[in-house]
C-alpha cells in the first residue's frame, strides 16, 4: 500500500462540480495505492482536454503533451525504460479523433502500457462540440442537425486492432472502476480502458441517469470473436467490465535483441567495428 496522501499534490482539480473526472481521479489514486506502486516509478502521459489534466493532480511523473499524442509519448517512455509503469491518459476526442491512428497502432503493438480514456462523448475543454463517440443524432454546437456519422465503438476497435486487455468502466461505479484500473495496470501488454464519464456541463444527453439505467456488469469473454460480439451491444443496455484479456508477448518481449533496458545501457561505446566494416 502507498498512502493516498503520498499521491496528493499542491494543485487541486478544477473540473466542474459533479464531473465524472473526479471519480476517475479518485479511482486511479485508489488503484495505485492498493497496487503499492511507487510514485517515482509511474509515468503518466496525457494529451489535451479536461481529462488530460488529471496527471497534474496525482503525484507521479507526468508528461502532459499535445492533443492526441499521449500514446506515442507513452511508447517512448516504455521503450526507454521498461521498468516503469506507464499510463497514458486522455479524452475521447484526444484518443479517437486527433490520435486515432496512434490508437490503432498502439493496440497492435501490444506494448505494456495502460491507456485510460475518459469517454464523455463530447469535447469538454473546447466547450461542447461533437466527438467521435457522440451518439448518432446527438445535437452539439457543431452539429445543429445532429451528428450524422456513426459513433466509433472504442471497445470493438481496440479488440479488432489487437489490444490484449480491453475493458469499459463507468465513472458512476467507482468500486468497479478501481478493480478495472488495477487489472488494466497489472495486465502485461496493451490495455485499453474506456471509461464512461458523464460531462455535466456539455453533454445533457449521456447523463448519470442515462448511464445508470443502462450499464450492467459482464465477465471477460473467452474468445476475441465473442468479445467483439459483446462489444457490439450499445443502446438500452451497455455492458461494462473486461471484455477480453489474453497474455501475449509484449512489444519489448518480441524484440529478440533486447537484453538491457535502454536506460541501463553501457555507455562505453566503441565504434571500431562499425568503421572497420566501411574499409
Amino acid at each position: 500500500m502507498v498512502k493516498l496522501e503520498e499521491l496528493e499534490t499542491k494543485g487541486k482539480p478544477n473540473w466542474c462540480p459533479g464531473c465524472g473526472n473526479y471519480s476517475i481521479w479518485n479511482s486511479l489514486k485508489q488503484a495505485i495505492s492498493e497496487l503499492g506502486l511507487k510514485p517515482e516509478n509511474i509515468v503518466m502521459t496525457s494529451g489535451i482536454g479536461c481529462s488530460s489534466k488529471l496527471p497534474h493532480w496525482i503525484k507521479v511523473n507526468c508528461f502532459n503533451g499535445l492533443h492526441g499524442r499521449p500514446l506515442p509519448l507513452a511508447m517512448g517512455v516504455k521503450l526507454a525504460n521498461n521498468d516503469l509503469t506507464v499510463i497514458a491518459d486522455g479524452g475521447d476526442g484526444d484518443g479517437y479523433a486527433e490520435g486515432g491512428n496512434h490508437f490503432i497502432h498502439f493496440c497492435r503493438s501490444n506494448a505494456d502500457i495502460t491507456y485510460l480514456v475518459h469517454d464523455n462523448q463530447i469535447y469538454g475543454l473546447t466547450k461542447g462540440q461533437a466527438s467521435p463517440t457522440s451518439d448518432e443524432g446527438f445535437m452539439t454546437k457543431t452539429t445543429p442537425f445532429g451528428v450524422i456519422e456513426r459513433a466509433i465503438n472504442p471497445v470493438l476497435l481496440a479488440i479488432a486492432s489487437g489490444a490484449t486487455f480491453v475493458a469499459r468502466g463507468y465513472a458512476g461505479d467507482q468500486k468497479h472502476l478501481v478493480q478495472l484500473m488495477k487489472a488494466a495496470i497489472l495486465h502485461k501488454g496493451a490495455a485499453v480502458l474506456d471509461i464512461l464519464q458523464p460531462c455535466v456541463t456539455f453533454n445533457k444527453k449521456n447523463t448519470y441517469e442515462w448511464y445508470q439505467k443502462r450499464v450492467y456488469k459482464i465477465k471477460p469473454l473467452k474468445t476475441r470473436i465473442s468479445a467483439m460480439k459483446k462489444a457490439e451491444e450499445w443502446g438500452d443496455k451497455i455492458p461494462i467490465g473486461v471484455f477480453y484479456q489474453s497474455r501475449e508477448k509484449t512489444y519489448t518481449e518480441r524484440m529478440p535483441h533486447m537484453k538491457t533496458a535502454l536506460i541501463k545501457s553501457d555507455y562505453k561505446i566503441n565504434i571500431s567495428k562499425l568503421l572497420k566494416e566501411l574499409k
Partner: protein, 569 residues
C-alpha cells in the same frame, strides 16, 4: 594526378546500384580515393538510373561534370550521357544498338546479348559485370588483382556467385584490346585505412557514438537509410529503432524516450518534418532534448522524391508555432556529418532543446572516402540529475522548470526517488503546473530564451569555417552539401570560401568577421530563393553581390562555380 570518372546507366532493376558499388570498392581497394553519386527516379522498375564513380590518387570532395568511361546498358543512357564524355572518352554499349556518336569519343560495342542470354533473369545484371570487365581492361588493371578483389567482395554470397561473376567479368575483359587511355595501376597510396561511406551512415555512426539509444521514424527518402542502418546495429549496440505509424508519432515517441532519460532522435525529409512541427514546438516548451535529422529533397509537396535540394533552411529555422529555442546545424561532408552529430546530442542535452541537423540527398547518399573518425568524445548530459538530494515534501513535485541564472533547469527522469516531476507543453510554473498569469508567462518565456545566450557563446568559434585564399577580395558563401563542390572549384579560383555550419542561432558577428574585407560576395545555394542569403540580409551588414542558385533537383558541378565566379564582373 591520375583520375578516372566511370558512369553506368540503365533501367532500375539492371543492377546499376550494385555494379556501381562493386566498381567503387574495386577502385578503393586498388588504393584510390573515390567519390560516388547515384541518380535515380522514384520508382522500382524501369526509369533511368545512373551510378557515377570518380576515382583519383588525390582526395576528392565532389563529383564532376565530365566522364571518361560510360557503360550504357540501354539506349537512353547513351542519348542522355554521351555528351558528358570528355574528348577521348570511351563508351561501352550493346552492339545491337547503332548510336550516333561524336567523332572524338571511342566506341566499344560488345555483343552483350549473346554473352548474357544464358543468365536468364540475371541477364541485365550480368551485362553490367561484363561492362566492369571491359572497363578494367581499358584501365589497364591486371586481371588477377581484380579476381582477388571480386572474390573478397562476393565472399558472403558463395562460390557459385563468385564463379559466375568472374566468368562474366573475364568475358568483358577479353573483348577489349589493351589500351593506353588510362593508366590505373594498383596504387601505392597509404590510405588503405580510409573508410568509404555516405553522409547518412556518418550521421548514424555519430548518433551511436554519442550514446543515442533510441530512434523513432517513418521511412522517407533520403533519410530512410539512417533508420535502416540504426536498425541493423540494434543488437550490437543495445538500441531500439521504432518504426512509427507516422511522423507525428515518431517525434512524440522520441520525445517520450528522451523524457525518460535516453538520448533519442528522429530522421525524416521535408514532408515528414512538416508533420513533426507541432511536437517540435512541444520540445521547445517542455525543454525536452531531441535531435531531428532533416534530409532535404526538392519540394514543394512530394516534389522530386529522389533528387537533391537545399530548400528547407528557412523552414528548419522557423518551423513550429510560437517562439521557442532551437539549434540548426548543417554539416558539409561525411566527416562533419559525424562530428556535428556528436555535437548535436551534447547541445540538445546541455540546453534542453531541439537540435535540427540539416542534410540532403546529395550528401546523404553519396559515397566519400575519408580518414576514419576520431572516436574520442565526451558525452555531456548537461543538468541531468540522477539523485535529487532534495527532500520532496508531501504534495511537492521536483521543480523541473526552476528559474536559474543560466535558464537551464536541472532535470530528473522517472524512476528517481524524490524526483517526481511534470513536463508539459502548456505554459507552466516551476513545478510544471499550468499557469496563465501575465507575469508568470513572461518570466518562463524569458527563462527559456536565456539559454540562447549560452548557446551563442558556446557556438561562437565553430559556427563558420573558412577555406582558400585569405587575401582575396572574392568570397563565396554557402552551407551544407555544396561544400565539397566549392572546395573542388577553389583549386582553380583565387577565392575565399566561407561555410556557415551553425545556422540558428545565426552567427552574425562571426560570419562578418570571417568574411572580412571583400569586393565580391558570391552566394551559392541549391535552392530558388537564396535562403541563406535571406538570413544574411536579415541579420548582418554583408551585401551579397552575386547569386548562383540552382533548383533543378541536381547538385552543382565544380565547373558551375568556377565559370560563375570567372564571368562575374
Amino acid at each position: 594526378m591520375v583520375e578516372v570518372v566511370w558512369k553506368i546507366g540503365g533501367e532500375a532493376g539492371y543492377g546499376i546500384l550494385s555494379s556501381g558499388d562493386t566498381f567503387s570498392h574495386l577502385m578503393k581497394d586498388l588504393g584510390y580515393y573515390v567519390f560516388s553519386i547515384t541518380e535515380y527516379p522514384s520508382l522500382i522498375r524501369g526509369g533511368h538510373n545512373t551510378y557515377t564513380v570518380r576515382a583519383s590518387d588525390k582526395p576528392l570532395t565532389s563529383h564532376t561534370h565530365e566522364i571518361d568511361i560510360l557503360m550504357a546498358l540501354d539506349e537512353l543512357t547513351i542519348e542522355k550521357h554521351k555528351n558528358e564524355l570528355r574528348k577521348g572518352g570511351v563508351i561501352i554499349y550493346n552492339g545491337v544498338l547503332k548510336p550516333k556518336l561524336r567523332r572524338d569519343i571511342i566506341p566499344v560495342a560488345l555483343p552483350l546479348d549473346s554473352l548474357s542470354n544464358k543468365y536468364g533473369v540475371l541477364k541485365k545484371v550480368m551485362q553490367a559485370t561484363i561492362g566492369i570487365g571491359a572497363s578494367a581492361r581499358l584501365l589497364s588493371i591486371k586481371k588477377e588483382i581484380l579476381h582477388e578483389l571480386l572474390k573478397q567482395r562476393f565472399k558472403k554470397k558463395g562460390k557459385k556467385v563468385i564463379a559466375k561473376n568472374i566468368e562474366a567479368f573475364d568475358n568483358g575483359y577479353s573483348l577489349v584490346k589493351d589500351s593506353n587511355f588510362f593508366k590505373i595501376k594498383a596504387s601505392k597510396l597509404n590510405e588503405k585505412d580510409c573508410i568509404m561511406l555516405d553522409g547518412n551512415t556518418a550521421i548514424t555512426i555519430g548518433a551511436i557514438r554519442a550514446g543515442c539509444k533510441f530512434m523513432s521514424s517513418y521511412p522517407m527518402t533520403p533519410a530512410t537509410s539512417i533508420m535502416q542502418y540504426f536498425s541493423s546495429k540494434q543488437a550490437e549496440h543495445n538500441l531500439i529503432m521504432h518504426q512509427a505509424e507516422d511522423e507525428i508519432s515518431s517525434i512524440n515517441t522520441a520525445l517520450g524516450a528522451s523524457y525518460a532519460g535516453v538520448r533519442s532522435m528522429a530522421a525524416t525529409s521535408g514532408g515528414g518534418f512538416a508533420l513533426m512541427n507541432e511536437a517540435l514546438s512541444l520540445a521547445g516548451c517542455s525543454e525536452t532534448p531531441i535531435v531531428i535529422i532533416l534530409g532535404q529533397r526538392p519540394g514543394p509537396a512530394t516534389g522530386l522524391p529522389t533528387r537533391t535540394e537545399q530548400g528547407d533552411l528557412l523552414y528548419a529555422v522557423h518551423a513550429g508555432h510560437g517562439e521557442f529555442q532551437r539549434i540548426v546545424l548543417a554539416p558539409g561532408d561525411a566527416s562533419e556529418c559525424y562530428s556535428m552529430t556528436l555535437d548535436a546530442f551534447n547541445l540538445a542535452d546541455k540546453y534542453q532543446l531541439p537540435v535540427i541537423i540539416l542534410t540532403d540527398k546529395y550528401q546523404g547518399v553519396s559515397y566519400q572516402m575519408i580518414k576514419p573518425f576520431n572516436q574520442s568524445y565526451k558525452i555531456n548530459r548537461g543538468e541531468l540529475v540522477k539523485k535529487t538530494g532534495k527532500d520532496l515534501k508531501l504534495k511537492e513535485k521536483y521543480p523541473r522548470y526552476k528559474f536559474t541564472s543560466s535558464g537551464v533547469s536541472p532535470r530528473t527522469i522517472p524512476g528517481i526517488i524524490k524526483g517526481v516531476q511534470c513536463s508539459i507543453g502548456d505554459e507552466h510554473d516551476e513545478e510544471g503546473y499550468i499557469v496563465e498569469g501575465a507575469v508568470e508567462r513572461k518570466k518562463m518565456m524569458d527563462k527559456r530564451e536565456k539559454k540562447m545566450a549560452l548557446v551563442r557563446k558556446e557556438l561562437s568559434n565553430k559556427s563558420v569555417s573558412v577555406y582558400g585564399s585569405k587575401e582575396s577580395g572574392s568570397v563565396i558563401i554557402s552551407w551544407g552539401s555544396t561544400k565539397g563542390i566549392i572546395l573542388e572549384a577553389l583549386r582553380e579560383l583565387n577565392c575565399r570560401f566561407v561555410q556557415v555550419k551553425y545556422l540558428n542561432p545565426f552567427p552574425v558577428k562571426e560570419l562578418e568577421k570571417k568574411v572580412g574585407n571583400y569586393k565580391k560576395l558570391f552566394l551559392v545555394e541549391n535552392n530558388m530563393k537564396g535562403q541563406l542569403g535571406a538570413l544574411i540580409k536579415q541579420n548582418t551588414n554583408l551585401k551579397i553581390t552575386h547569386e548562383l542558385l540552382k533548383y533543378d533537383g541536381r547538385q552543382f558541378n565544380p565547373v558551375d562555380i568556377i565559370s560563375f565566379v570567372r564571368r562575374s564582373k
